[in-house]
């Protein structure tokens, strides 16, 4: 009896919880994650078999030797290091072997997988999906607008998608076809009378959006526009039952209440719950990442780490205003190419864009410069600001003045930080700012050179001051109080 109770009450050391999705050019695989001591683990051999070919295996009591595409890997139980060829690479958590299964912590994907596979690996730390090989995932941004009798959801995808809809348990499911999808945010919550949440889910290997209505009995009418790049979905309160109002013969939408597929006429009574407007989006870009470390200080500090720390603090400072949502162009130590960063920003329909850098700004340190875009050629050519279709490479022309104003607003706040040299706003031909359809500035802190230590500008207090100044500058630019 006592033994039985003990078995029942004994805390589980390993709990199977979620899945990890591997997206490859022609296939995808779902591998269950295991949680051990609050760390997430993946089974090693299934992972290697998904992304490549395991040649041979030598397993002893405490060690495992695997030849992966002719590269030897050697692991030891409860050891945080893994031998890859002749190098030893450290993991955040030790290797485990419960139930004779070799498990590696999830950071194996970021630290070791890129070393042993020839394919491009794109993985954002903290997510549960990885893209291996020539896979270009689709991203999307979400916008919610009030209409006369309901709410319109606009989902803008970075590429064409196909959508199949379904309804289950009072929620609407939008299956996004076979395209690999990388969400900018896992879920979006709204204070709206018709929609409370949009959640992205691909835990079963099938990317989908799950819309949770704010109330029961609402109708849902999704349609694809622009060849599959935009999804428009109207969520409306159904009209009161009336025998004179038959349902349309063909309705390309899904209604939660069968037989009430027709949207109500305009002028419907106002919803009971007052809807809040969707929060504007600010995009923060940490330069470099992954195999591109950017600059390096004498003490070994890397630009990619410094700017990621700064962006994280800026994010918190902006979120503290409760006026914006924040999207990051990179999360974790990965190299996101410039085109992808632009896509993330433009898809999110940002109201402001900040790109963070650290570089050589002379011997004065700490020092901050704020840049807006200046084209490489003084003569800008045709004025495209009134053109119907504007090439992405020229989109900066529509944003030069607001970008200058944003740079001025932020620089003024930097100038108020004691002990910091804040130069007047500058203009430079920065590639990252060229195709951003939003007021866009780059912030460079320094001086980061191999001749000096990073200490003057890498300390947390300084970064916090910079973060506060960026948030205050954004507020000043947007017309709020500082």
């Amino acid at each position: 009896m006592a033994a039985g109770l003990l078995v029942l009450m004994w805390p589980a050391r390993a709990l199977r919880s979620d899945n990890f999705v591997f997206y490859l050019p022609s296939t995808r695989a779902v591998i269950p994650l295991e949680t051990i001591d609050q760390a997430q683990y993946l089974p090693l051999l299934p992972v290697l078999n998904v992304v490549g070919k395991v040649g041979a295996i030598q397993e002893k009591r405490e060690t495992l030797k695997v030849w992966f595409d002719e590269i030897p890997l050697e692991l030891r139980v409860n050891d945080k290091t893994v031998r890859v060829g002749k190098a030893r690479l450290a993991l955040a958590q030790p290797v485990r072997r419960p139930r004779s299964q070799w498990l590696v912590p999830v950071d194996f994907l970021a630290k070791i997988l890129p070393q042993i596979t020839r394919d491009k690996v794109e993985y954002q730390t903290g997510t549960r999906r990885i893209f291996v090989g020539n896979v270009k995932p689709v991203t999307f941004g979400v916008r919610v607008d009030r209409t006369g009798n309901g709410t319109r959801v606009t989902v803008q995808f970075s590429d064409k998608v196909t959508v199949n809809t379904a309804s289950s348990n009072g929620k609407w499911y939008l299956y996004l076809g076979d395209q690999p999808v990388e969400p900018l945010e896992q879920s979006y919550r709204f204070q709206d009378s018709h929609l409370s949440e949009i959640q992205f889910d691909d835990q079963d290997g099938v990317p989908k959006l799950i819309l949770t209505p704010a109330a029961g009995g609402l109708n849902f009418y999704p349609t694809l526009a622009e060849g599959g790049k935009i999804l428009l979905a109207d969520i409306v309160t159904p009209p009161p039952p009336s025998p004179q109002q038959p349902a349309p013969a063909s309705q390309p939408t899904v209604a939660t209440t069968p037989g009430e597929a027709a949207p109500p006429p305009a002028g419907e009574a106002a919803p009971a719950v007052a809807a809040g407007p969707p929060l504007p989006v600010v995009v923060l870009d940490s330069a470099h990442g992954g195999e591109d470390p950017g600059g390096r200080a004498r003490d070994g500090a890397l630009e990619k780490d410094l700017v990621a720390q700064l962006a994280a603090r800026v994010r918190l400072a902006i979120l503290a205003t409760q006026k914006y949502r924040v999207v990051l162009t990179r999360v974790g130590d990965i190299n996101v190419d410039l085109d992808h960063r632009e896509t993330i920003t433009n898809t999110a329909r940002a109201v402001a864009f900040f790109s963070f850098h650290a570089g050589n700004l002379g011997i004065t340190s700490p020092r901050v410069m704020v840049y807006s875009y200046r084209p490489p050629q003084a003569e800008e050519g045709d004025d495209v600001s009134k053109a119907l279709l504007i090439p992405w490479a020229k989109i900066y022309q529509t944003q030069r003045q607001p970008s200058r104003q944003l740079a001025t607003a932020v620089q003024q706040k930097f100038g108020q930080i004691p002990g910091v040299t804040a130069d007047p706003p500058a203009e430079a031909p920065i590639r990252m700012l060229r195709s951003i359809n939003a007021p866009a500035v780059a912030v460079e802190i320094g001086s980061l050179t191999e001749d000096a230590d990073s200490a003057p500008f890498a300390n947390p207090a300084f970064l916090q001051q910079i973060a506060g100044a960026v948030a205050a500058g954004l507020e000043a630019f947007r017309g709020g109080t500082t």
Partner: protein
């Protein structure tokens, strides 16, 4: 064996030995040539070589621009150069002088390891400078440093060679997005401001 045959054998032996030695030296030169050391001395040597090729022309003063990171601007520097006859050679002379570095303590434009693979000057005034990929790996990182380096090259060329209106920088023969992740190299550069920051 006759005396004549002995003498011929000895001569043939030395000829064969000499041929073998020459073949060995030739093989080493072709297959085992050590990579050139990219030092300031090498840069100066290349500059001198370029200048010597045009020894018949008089020495003239060229205006070069070098970055000053402390001030966020370009500083002017005069340099005596014996101009080559052709404009593409003059472009090469300017770039080599920039690689050689400032004589007045300004910062570097390009690392000593930078090498110019080819130069073209198009009819529309666009000069194409094809640098080796090594140029990128030894660059000083940063927005200011990269932008000032590019403007130092473009402004120096435009100031001394009127035919140069724009400059397109290539790496290993390819158009690239940036040198080190910052400056937009997707299109040619016109001469730019000597100072990045606005105001006095």
């Amino acid at each position: 064996m006759t005396t004549r045959a002995k003498i011929l054998s000895v001569i043939l032996f030395f000829v064969l030995m000499g041929s073998a030695f020459y073949l060995r030296v030739l093989t080493r030169r072709i297959f085992f040539r050590p990579p050139p050391e990219h030092t300031e001395e090498v840069a100066r040597t290349r500059l001198s070589e370029a200048a010597l090729q045009s020894a018949t022309t008089p020495v003239q003063t060229a205006t070069l621009y070098f970055p000053s990171f402390e001030n966020g601007n370009l500083t002017e520097e005069q340099r005596s150069i014996s101009w080559a006859a052709s404009e593409t050679d003059r472009i090469r002379q300017i770039v080599l002088a920039l690689i050689e570095g400032s004589h007045q303590g300004s910062s570097r434009v390009l690392p000593p390891a930078a090498s110019l693979r080819a130069v073209f000057l198009a009819a529309d005034g666009t000069a194409y400078l094809d640098f080796s990929g090594q140029t990128r790996s030894d660059l000083r990182p940063g927005i200011a440093s990269e932008s000032l380096a590019v403007y130092a090259i473009v402004n120096s060329l435009a100031a001394n060679i009127p035919a140069v209106k724009r400059v397109q920088i290539l790496l290993d023969g390819q158009r690239v997005d940036t040198l080190g992740g910052h400056t937009d190299l997707t299109e040619p550069f016109a001469p730019g401001p000597a100072r990045l920051a606005a105001g006095p």
